[in-house]
Symmetry: D2
Subunit: 335 residues, 4 copies
């Protein structure tokens, strides 16, 4: 059995992680921490949760775990990762702290010096489908952001094929759990219900540099990217509608073959048949990224759906753990 610890179990991501690990047949959760709720049960916070006792972070016994999951805000996660690594514990960090390879880019977008720049080189960006070899030996995994997961998996085949002919536009829509569990005016039920709101559109959201770094893995000088997130009045799920001008005469058949070939053996990427579009209902409460292709002249429109808390966070974290510990990749992730 793999012994796991969760730092920060009472946010939406931490709770989803506790839920998934709690039923994972090859994992035992040794501890789950919460600063605000230490001493209580996770089921006091989430009625449907297992009765897991929450402890303060200081009480977390790193010596008892093989892997530590960090569900902490950026800036706060890095020092904890450093401590855990020093104690010989492998780390899956769900914050943004180790996603960007260049500490200058981190500083520019997150408004602070990187807390542990010496760890960046060794961190593996855990978009599982493209990171498996590195994951197997990784000590520190940077779990991707939710929006980047939905956008990068959809774009990857095109970039690898050199098919993109101009500016890419990702018009993304996310459920409210993506904004976190701390009460804020803009997540108040009355503000969100019946509404729909764009925010940080263009080139100003922090997930943009993460996506651009991802694109550069597949194409040296990738085309520009515009990214427009919107807040949906639903608890969970992301749908990205992505507009890609193609650079030469791609037929729908050739595109479909490209995607099916790329993802033929992937358990968690599903390419929909022609005539179907991705919706939240395709992916919610699963670890799937569901992708559909629609060709309009020389513009390819991708619709890509994930559950932001599963494939966009806790599910992919467990998928990464499975690879790190040589478990079957789908363990604990399919019912």
């Amino acid at each position: 059995m793999i012994r796991a610890g969760i730092i920060g179990a009472t946010g939406y991501t931490g709770f989803e992680l506790a839920r998934i690990l709690g039923r994972h047949p090859a994992v035992t959760v040794q501890f789950a921490t919460s600063q605000s709720q230490a001493g209580r049960l996770l089921s006091d916070v989430y009625p449907a949760a297992p009765p897991l006792r929450l402890v303060a972070q200081e009480e977390a016994a790193l010596g008892e775990v093989d892997v530590l999951f960090l569900c902490l805000p950026h800036g706060v996660a890095a020092p904890v990762a450093e401590t855990a690594l020093a104690a010989g514990v492998r780390v899956v960090d769900l914050s943004a702290d180790f996603r960007l390879k260049d500490p200058a880019v981190y500083a520019a977008w997150y408004g602070q010096e990187h807390p542990a720049p010496h760890l960046l080189a060794g961190a593996v960006y855990g978009l599982t489908e493209v990171a498996r070899p590195a994951l197997r030996t990784a000590r520190l995994v940077a779990n991707p952001g939710c929006y980047p997961t939905s956008v990068l998996l959809a774009l990857r085949p095109l970039l690898e094929a050199g098919a993109v002919g101009g500016t890419i536009i990702a018009d993304s829509k996310s459920g409210v759990s993506g904004a976190g569990r701390a009460p804020r005016q803009d997540t108040h039920f009355v503000e969100v219900a019946n509404n729909f709101s764009p925010y940080k559109i263009g080139r100003v959201h922090r997930h943009l540099p993460e996506m651009e770094q991802g694109l550069r893995c597949w194409q040296a000088d990738p085309p520009p990217l515009i990214f427009s997130p919107h807040l949906l009045p639903v608890p969970r799920g992301i749908l990205s509608t992505i507009y890609v001008p193609l650079n030469n005469g791609w037929s729908e058949g050739a595109l479909r073959a490209l995607y099916q070939e790329t993802y033929a053996d992937e358990p968690f990427v599903k390419v929909l048949p022609a005539g179907t579009l991705a919706t939240l209902a395709h992916a919610n409460h699963t670890n799937l990224c569901v992708i559909a292709l629609t060709l309009a002249g020389d513009m390819l429109i991708l619709t890509s759906a994930i559950d932001n808390l599963v494939k966009g966070a806790a599910g992919q974290a467990v998928q990464n753990m499975n690879v790190m510990f040589r478990l079957e990749e789908v363990r604990g992730l399919v019912e």
Copy 2:
């Protein structure tokens, strides 16, 4: 033109009041205050609001208004009312400060000494339909709570007729705006959506003594009352399902006649025809209290719907103002 001021215009009740007064043909809003948003426009807070300039409470010129509406928390409202009354301004207080006649009851339920007990005797409890004579000369009006409005208007004919034969149960369901606009964990979109929650059920909600006081206006020794509020995943509206054991052989026809007679001339109380039940859709965005009668043996089931922000707060406040200033009662309240 009646010159009005609003203290606390950025909560849901204050905003609804600003909206209603803003289009009232016989009213000018002289000022609207906000502590947190002073200097900004109301439309900065509510996109669809009129561009009303918000001022700090200290800047509110009491000398410029005929009537002051208080949309403040209990305990905070009373001293402001006192100042306004001293300045010769008539006051409609939407807080709970002047609803309970007995300061000891106030202290027991609100956990503090009453801030201005000498004003209680002169305050008029503004359930408009039963308070008109007193309202005409009132200097200080205590606007009723939302739940009590939906329950008292539904029960009044039975109490006046001495028809109640046992414990009354009011099972009420309210939209989230009733919980106020300040962000809290339990009004977070993700916590409320897809959920439905009872809270403070039995005999522990602060609106219970207000209802019991109301019942005593119609019957010296009214039957016991059980009150169970629930939180609905909707922005607004209250539906109360009220169970009343009748004390002798009332026929449905006699009951219906009783209600129709009681409310025949009321512009804002609507008794539904037989076979119809009240729903939120009957009352939302109106100043109506919509009541339906269902007889099951000797148990009368009342369904009573109001918009908690209109008839349950701002609308009734304006209805009261109309009576106070001898305007037509429906002015500014019907489109």
Copy 3:
């Protein structure tokens, strides 16, 4: 492996059943039928479903299954049950056809002669927690209605203890999936969203005689029952707020002890600790019935939550199957 068949797999109940059976470690689904969608995959109807091939009912090979689940309208289910029983297949019927023991009551409430009255005597009413001995050998199980499940499990300890002193009122609220999947005006998104509606309140809903029959199992001459269902703007879940006048001086401690004793060993009934109330979030997506006790004078207020599609339908059907086939009762029902 138990070989199961599903008749009517594309309604909400049928789909939930297919989902549960699809991951049940001791069951293989031999076939799933649909009249309107025969030839397609279940995943064509529900994006997140497994790719189960739907067949016409005529193609269902009864000889290949040990148990048949009927997710059909009342009146239609009984003849299919008859055929299956004749073929030696055990049947779990999720319709109302075999719930009422008295065919005259069935005729009065369902507006038609009972289609197979000779089968009524042998049918077991499958409220699992009280039916286990009979279930083990049952050939035909009548799976309880959703509302009755939430109400009967909550009331059972009181009836068994002879504690009820007067008319019981069950004020129940259900999500929209309880109304079925066929499009109707009153389940249109625009009609339901932001609304909340009582319907068939008092003593006119078809689940009333089913509840009364249940009460008579525990007390010869049970007190009258008033039942008021309401439609909640959520996809799933039932919360029943039940008012029970107690017949003598029950303390909260004694009541709590009564419930804890009754349900101490039940895997799917959860009695909440003092100070907590049941909400939809406690039960949704689980097979639990979650019950809380609140005492207000001599009135006990029960709040009882289930997922109408799980414990209120498909989950309890599988729980019953587990008992029928001597499997561990929680198999396939806890993750």
Copy 4:
């Protein structure tokens, strides 16, 4: 007083129109028709509606009205318009029948021959802000589609200025009332809630040729247009996020000046200040089109919000009527 008739008052658009006209100070509604509900009151269908008696279409006395509003499906509206025009009644048609100038385009997109092609030349496309001179004398007005209204008003200044440098992408999101009131599987509450779905994306939705025709009014050979509608889990409102590559060095200041100048005197077009984005909350329950500008390099991102039932249908119809009858344009449309 202008005497108006409504053909088809029980759909969402017809009801909204009845509501607006019912409070319009210069209009009397002479009749409102409904095939399915003739003889009943509009308030039987919509609880909050005025008690307007519905008549069968055959009983509608054309001689009694000055203007007739058609809220009918395409194909059905045109013959009614023809009859009304012949009777000397001016017509505002809210269907698609007279929006497309070219009957061949109509036939290609709507799958049938145009029912009254001889009327097309005289029909005025009623995007009010650009059609006023023609509206004043129009006998037949084709009220624009909801999506085209949100997109065309947002794009107009750019087209007029010749500023567009490449393919325009309109990623639009609409509330469910846009799909009509007839019950369908895809508007069932359970299917829509918690979901978000693209549909007919690319160049296949019937509003595309309408938008392209509109663009050609401002630029002879407009750039290509991609249009991707999505279904939002809200009752009403459209937000279009529109991506426009600019053809030369436009600064944000110059763009803002362009929009402010174009729409300076428009009562129902609101250009938001810098740093603000349009949301549904800006426009719902108003006749406004609210537009915000965001520049990202040489890509202008427009966010444009309307209420699909008001500015996108009934409100604009009344705005057009006001112009046709030389009333103040805002009459009946601002509270």
